[in-house]
Amino acid sequence: MRHLRAVNRKAVRVEEWIAAEHGDVFALQQGGGQPTRPHYPMGCSLVFSPGWEVDSAGGTAGLCQPVERDLYDCYLSCFWPAQVPDHLNNYPDWTGKCASATKDWRNIDLVFP
């Protein structure tokens, strides 16, 4: 609320109730209020992430995204419990030869644990 300031604890609860009752839900936003700039969700085709998904037949021929798309998301940016090396402890240099993912993704090492 912009014109009323919640002062005591009950007012804070009333404010939370109003937000839940009347406010919109904006996922993945920074801060509250209306969005001030376009929001691009992470992980869509705007970001190139080589991945390892399979299609409905268990192969890679029918994917709507390149097979490599999810790889980095599992390894670095988002944690996902996939069978990729961990970059924190054991394989910090796994993508060392991959300077630019769009060009060099074939240089990502093979790992034999």
Partner: protein
């Protein structure tokens, strides 16, 4: 949209140059900015349509109207309240008050236990609580405080220290049982201080027992009504004992509890003496509970005089709070704590909900003031609470039944006031205490101003009240 707005239920107040609303019945306190205060002002003469207000205040006011309407500071539509919900029963116990004896070595003239307005009929009942009754009470408290981490045991009388051996053995027993039950338990007692000895003081200090002393001020005021059976005042006996207690017992804050009567209304003098001369940590005042015909009853003009002096002390409290310092006027502390939490009471107090009184015979009562009264008995410690009687007592005392209170802005903190006072005045524990409505509203308004000023100028001080009252 074709809404028509009118003012909701609130009490406006100011403090530290800010404007606030105390919303009723929620108990929420909001600070207004310029545009929201302007809307409130526009609606004072009466209802107005949204279009009308927007035409006058500009389209930006739409957001202001929405915020005020959502918080119910302004309302539209039919004007009725949803009934307040009843408390879920059985309610987990928080505090037991053990009246370890109904005997007293004094004959204070206004005493609600022995005086002209007594409700107790102790004839033929135990005079001193035996050890096994006290132990059964501890067991009952621990077994019926489901969901609470900490519980409280308060010892009361009569004169509590006339049964000190049972106080002691009960504390030891309770500590052990609480530990086994995985709960925290603390102890307090109220005494007239006549029986404090170095040995007792040492015990209370070592065991961190909270102590409240009943005392009405300096000698000339205290000894008017606080006397032995032969009429002799007790001040000279208790003053040195109290000094000794305050010097030794520093593990808990020691409070003085003053009863104001027609003869004893010099609040400032009493406060200065108890706080500065004797050195109490906190001093709290309450007007005597009595029917209006008694000589010591405070008449209407007397309460105004008391309120004026309370205001002076509240101003002092504020100055201390703005410097971040403690002030010992506990009437302000208690009210600020409730305002800060935004408490909105369906019942005036915890009696028969989280709190019960236990008489020397083991009879259960809604609180210590009804102990030994057959008319108010709620069961026995050996068989537990009589749930039907408890529900009846609570129903009669619920805010929904007190029609007179439904238009009062102070009902979130008052809820009709003390059951015992209502019984003495009106013969009905569920009656609203209409004789002190002006007093309650006056005092709550004073405390709201103090709260508003602290919120504006030293909000950090209010953090003291964050946990108070909400402790489990």
């Amino acid at each position: 949209m074709t809404s028509s707005y009118r003012l909701g239920e609130f009490h406006p107040f100011a403090g530290g140059g800010k404007s606030y609303l105390y919303l009723v019945p929620s108990g929420a306190i909001f600070e207004l900015d310029g545009p929201s205060a302007a809307v409130i002002d526009r609606l004072r003469p009466g209802e107005r349509s949204r279009e009308d207000l927007l035409a006058e205040l500009g389209p930006d006011a739409a957001e202001v109207l929405d915020e005020l309407a959502q918080s119910r500071a302004i309302v539209s539509g039919p004007g009725f309240h949803d009934p307040v919900e009843k408390a879920p029963l059985p309610f987990p116990l928080n505090t037991l008050v053990l009246n370890v004896t109904n005997q007293c070595n004094l004959s204070c003239k206004y005493c609600y236990e022995f005086g002209e307005d007594r409700v107790a009929n102790p004839e033929g009942k135990a005079k001193f609580m035996p050890e096994d009754t006290a132990r059964a009470s501890v067991d009952y408290l621990l077994a019926n405080s489901q969901g609470r981490r900490s519980v409280h045991l308060t010892f009361f009388g009569g004169e509590t220290l006339m049964n000190f051996p049972v106080v002691r053995s009960t504390i030891e027993y309770a500590r052990e049982k609480a530990r086994a039950a995985g709960k925290y338990i603390d102890f307090s007692l109220t005494t007239n201080a006549t029986l404090l000895t170095p040995h007792v003081i040492e015990y209370l200090a070592e065991n961190q027992v909270g102590v409240t002393i009943s005392i009405d001020g300096p000698k000339e005021l205290n000894d008017q009504l606080r006397v032995f059976a032969n009429g002799r005042g007790i001040y000279d006996i208790i003053a040195p004992k109290i000094r000794e207690l305050l010097a030794r017992h520093t593990s808990r804050p020691i409070g003085a509890r003053v009863t104001l009567t027609s003869q004893v209304v010099d609040v400032l003098k009493i406060y200065r003496h108890l706080k500065n001369d004797l050195g109490f940590h906190e001093v709290g005042f309450a007007p005597v509970t009595t029917s209006p015909v008694r000589l010591y009853a405070i008449g209407g003009g007397g309460l105004d005089l008391v309120l004026e002096q309370f205001k002076t002390l509240a101003r002092e409290y504020l100055d201390h709070a703005l410097r971040g310092e403690h002030h010992g006027f506990s009437n302000v502390t208690d009210t600020l704590a409730e305002l800060h939490q935004g408490i909105s009471k369906a019942h005036p107090c915890g009696a028969a909900l989280g709190l019960l009184g236990v008489g020397p015979s083991g009879d259960l009562a809604p609180c210590h003031r009804f102990v030994d009264s057959d008319a108010h008995k709620l069961g026995h410690i050996s068989t537990g609470v009589d749930r039907a009687k408890q529900a009846d007592f609570l129903d009669r005392g619920h805010i929904n039944r007190k029609i007179e209170c439904h238009t009062c802005w102070a009902r979130p903190v008052c809820s009709g006031g003390c059951y015992h006072e209502a019984h003495v005045r009106y013969g009905d524990t569920g009656h609203a205490n209409l004789h002190y409505c002006d007093w309650i509203r006056g005092w709550t308004d004073v405390c709201l101003s103090v709260y508003g000023e602290i919120a504006a100028r030293n909000p950090k001080f209010l953090e003291h009240f964050d946990e108070r009252s909400s402790a489990q």
